[in-house]
């Protein structure tokens, strides 16, 4: 089987911001042989869909004095006092996380931020600018100073292109359209991955001294979602199947402004720039739920408020499941300069021009707070005690450091993917140059995966994969969504177990080897079923409400019992085994408080 093996010093899975930063940084720091595998072309990665901005304390702008929290911004004249600080960014992030974020990791996130953003700029990223030529900044939900650095409303696109160009410049080798289907961990040492070359259908093993996952989020488990088709949580499912733990999976963020019915994102920058949320009576309903921050309260709170408005009959559109995002008062010029892409989206998909009409929106599944637990250098934890899996790294949305805790603030995740992708790159370089070994693979993973694919092809059962996926998505949205309770979660767990059984009777329609996306979609469906069970089990056990996890039967946060991270391992019986890990808090600086906005 030797012709099936490829060897590199480092293999990175995922070509979004996290994976590409790691690969580029490792290469820049002297590792010669770095490869990235991506199931879609690197520039198609979902990081490119990010709109609003990337957080960093730069102190380039401030609110105009006397205009209040929603007033206009101006550049800070040279020599005048800053309005923002690391402590403030930390506090906002910690409060946003409902105190579940690890404060040592948050400190690193915040302090590395200005340097990462400036590095992007030096690498040629095109940011919007202040009149005197500095990087422009806007407000974002849950942030108490304007610190979202942006490029109109296509920030992710320009960041992704910039870092991809740099990786090319540093001779990182790209395997584009290679679907990774298995992670090889033996004796707690990562030894490589197994992947399908999508073009030929050939299954190959890629061995490496270090394996890094930057495979992105898991929003495709929900029916209404802002996430791409590719966001099927492959990385979390593969790591879990290979014996690594998953952390805080029950925390899934719903974004308040998905385009009604479609779920595509209308960036929070719409509200950051001054947009209103309106119910059927024309009221700015956020005044009831967050009188101070109004529309710029954090996402969990705004989404819950919207859901309450909808549940109490104040929604809009024929089914009452929508609300309005009103930007008309911003005026044509501002919308064209700062929000051209979302305006275009609303015209294309809702036939509404935001300049003249309010845009119908609804909450949409958006971000995966949970993931593979890591240190602040991207090293993957093997357990709650803090032991490591040798040679295995992760960063970005697939990972859980944890900087977002129970709820992420907007613009903190492009930042997370960049900061921790870069840190993982440094750690990988040190690891490889420090004499890491290429460990042999003793089992035959290629054969195992061949057999799995053959079984899927031979199966020819009565079930269509899509029917199973659709039932899963509906169940997750209705029973493990914005509001949760014991009865619903139990029923969701039952449904998932039933769907896992039904999956054994599926049929793959395309059995060819050339560019078989029917096969990859089937493997993705299996991943959805795997990690959704972990989400629901974690949510069922956690009998409190914290951040994005909101239990109607346990409406209060319970620090006494639940100020801790959920860790899930795959048990002998194939079911998640939960354990818990302490949260790192700086008790003297940021002790838990009631979370009010």
């Amino acid at each position: 089987m030797t012709n099936d093996v490829i060897i590199h010093d480092v293999v990175v899975v995922g070509a979004g911001l996290a994976g590409t930063w790691a690969a580029m940084t490792a290469a820049e720091n002297g590792v010669k042989d770095v490869a990235i595998l991506s199931k879609i072309h690197p520039l198609r990665s979902h990081s490119g869909a990010a709109q609003g901005g990337i957080a960093a304390v730069l102190n380039n702008v401030r609110p105009v004095a006397g205009t209040g929290p929603r007033g206009p911004l101006e550049q800070i004249p040279p020599g005048e006092d800053p309005v923002d600080s690391f402590d403030l960014h930390m506090f906002d992030t910690i409060k946003g996380s409902d105190w579940l974020g690890d404060q040592d990791a948050i400190e690193i996130l915040v302090k590395d931020a200005p340097d990462v953003v400036v590095q992007y700029e030096h690498m040629g990223c095109v940011f919007s600018r202040t009149p005197d030529g500095r990087i422009a900044q806007r407000r974002f939900g849950g942030h108490s100073a304007p610190r979202a650095n942006f490029s109109a409303d296509r920030t992710g696109l320009v960041l992704l292109h910039t870092i991809h160009e740099q990786a090319l410049y540093h001779n990182v080798k790209f395997y584009s359209e290679w679907y990774v289907m298995d992670l090889i961990i033996e004796d707690n040492i990562a030894r490589g991955v197994v992947a399908i070359n999508v073009l030929t259908g050939k299954i190959q093993m890629i061995r490496a001294k270090a394996v890094m996952f930057g495979t992105g989020g898991y929003g495709q488990a929900y029916k209404v979602t802002s996430n791409a088709y590719a966001n099927t949580g492959d990385g979390v499912a593969m790591a879990y199947d290979a014996g690594a733990p998953l952390m805080d999976m029950e925390f899934v963020q719903f974004h308040p402004t998905g385009l009604y019915r479609h779920g595509f994102l209308m960036t929070e920058a719409c509200r950051g720039e001054g947009g209103y949320l309106i119910n059927k009576d024309g009221d700015r309903f956020m005044s009831k739920y967050a009188p101070e921050k109004m529309e710029l309260a954090p996402r969990d709170l705004v989404s819950r408020s919207e859901q309450t408005e909808i549940n109490e009959g104040r929604g809009v559109m024929e089914d009452g499941q929508g609300l309005f995002l009103d930007m008309r008062h911003l005026g044509r010029e501002k919308i064209m300069e700062r929000l051209p892409e979302v305006r275009d989206l609303a015209i294309a998909f809702a036939h509404v021009d935001a300049i003249d009409e309010p845009v119908p929106i609804q909450p949409t599944a958006h971000y995966s707070m949970g993931g593979i637990p890591t240190t602040a250098d991207g090293e993957v934890l093997a357990n709650a005690k803090g032991d490591l899996v040798t040679g295995f790294f992760a960063a970005g949305e697939v990972a859980c450091v944890s900087v977002h805790g129970a709820n992420r603030l907007g613009t903190n995740s492009l930042l997370e993917a960049s900061v921790f992708g870069r840190r993982a790159g440094h750690a990988i370089a040190d690891f490889v140059k420090g004499g890491a070994k290429l460990y042999p693979v003793t089992s035959d993973p290629v054969k195992r995966n061949h057999q799995q694919v053959q079984q899927l092809f031979d199966n020819d059962g009565p079930e269509l994969v899509e029917d199973i996926v659709q039932e899963l998505k509906t169940t997750m949205t209705n029973k493990a969504g914005i509001y949760r309770n014991e009865e619903d979660l139990k029923s969701a767990l039952d449904t998932i177990h039933r769907l896992q059984q039904r999956f054994k009777n599926i049929r793959v329609m395309d059995k060819s080897s050339r560019f078989n996306t029917n096969l990859s979609m089937t493997l993705e469906a299996k991943h959805l079923l795997t990690f959704s069970e972990v989400i629901v089990q974690g949510a069922l056990n956690r009998t409190e409400s914290r951040g994005a996890h909101s239990r109607t039967d346990h409406p209060k946060r319970d620090d006494e019992s639940w100020l801790k991270h959920t860790m899930a391992h795959k048990g002998e019986d194939g079911r998640p085994q939960l354990s818990y890990k302490d949260v790192t808090l700086y008790w003297d600086r940021f002790p838990p408080q009631e979370r009010k906005y």
Binding site: L43, S45, M123, G124, S128, L157, A228, H262, F349, R514
Partner: protein, 261 residues
Amino acid sequence: MSNDNTQRTVTVSIQRFDPDVDKKPHMQDYQVEMTKGMTILDALHEIKTHQDGSVTYRRSCRHGICGSCAMLINGRNTLACKTPLIDEVGHKNRVTLGPLPYLPIIKDMVVDRTTFWEQYLRVKPWLIPPDDIPEKEFRMSKEEVNALHDAESCIMCGACYSSCTVIGLNKHYVGPHALLKAFMRVMDPRDEAPGQRLADLDGADGVYRCHTVFNCIDACPKGLNPTQAIETLRKLAQKRKKFETTRRKRQQHLHEPIPAK
């Protein structure tokens, strides 16, 4: 604007081709129940997941930002995810789909983009910064940023590339997508090597190969204007030395605030 409340069965006619089994491409028809707001990509998803899993196309983001799903829809290159089905089926209740033209077919709507990406690499898409890097950001004016708007909005979907008649005849031509990227680097005040870049594009397969047929503008789903960028590059290539001098002067002030107007 779409009239959205027409629920009916429509025919989606797809050009099928798997080089491993087919001698040449053939058309295959599928019936789809058109629902409100359905896009071409939604219709393809319905066909692939419920009728025929072998129908093959690329897609990811679903909303026109990742550039995966460009294909030939009723004879026009565009994004399947941003095209409403109802706008395309007409009174015959029928839409025809195929791969982007001028590129080798891998399977059905999936084309081989090797030359497309090679040309992108050829223009050295990365910034070549000056030696003197400031501690904070380089200063750029709003006007300088605006000039890059078209180039930085490009999603590399290839709709322009495969509508270009020059590409149809000559795969050595750099192509509109890569020239737009080159334009972005040439125009960026932070780039140190605009002269070298312009010299590289000056050859027979560079800026002069464009016949200004404007197909790329019609094809671009983001409404960008590669032809104009190419024309600008052509003009600058003619006064390359002068442009280099201007750039060098500009770079002396890259660390300083943009003066107020």
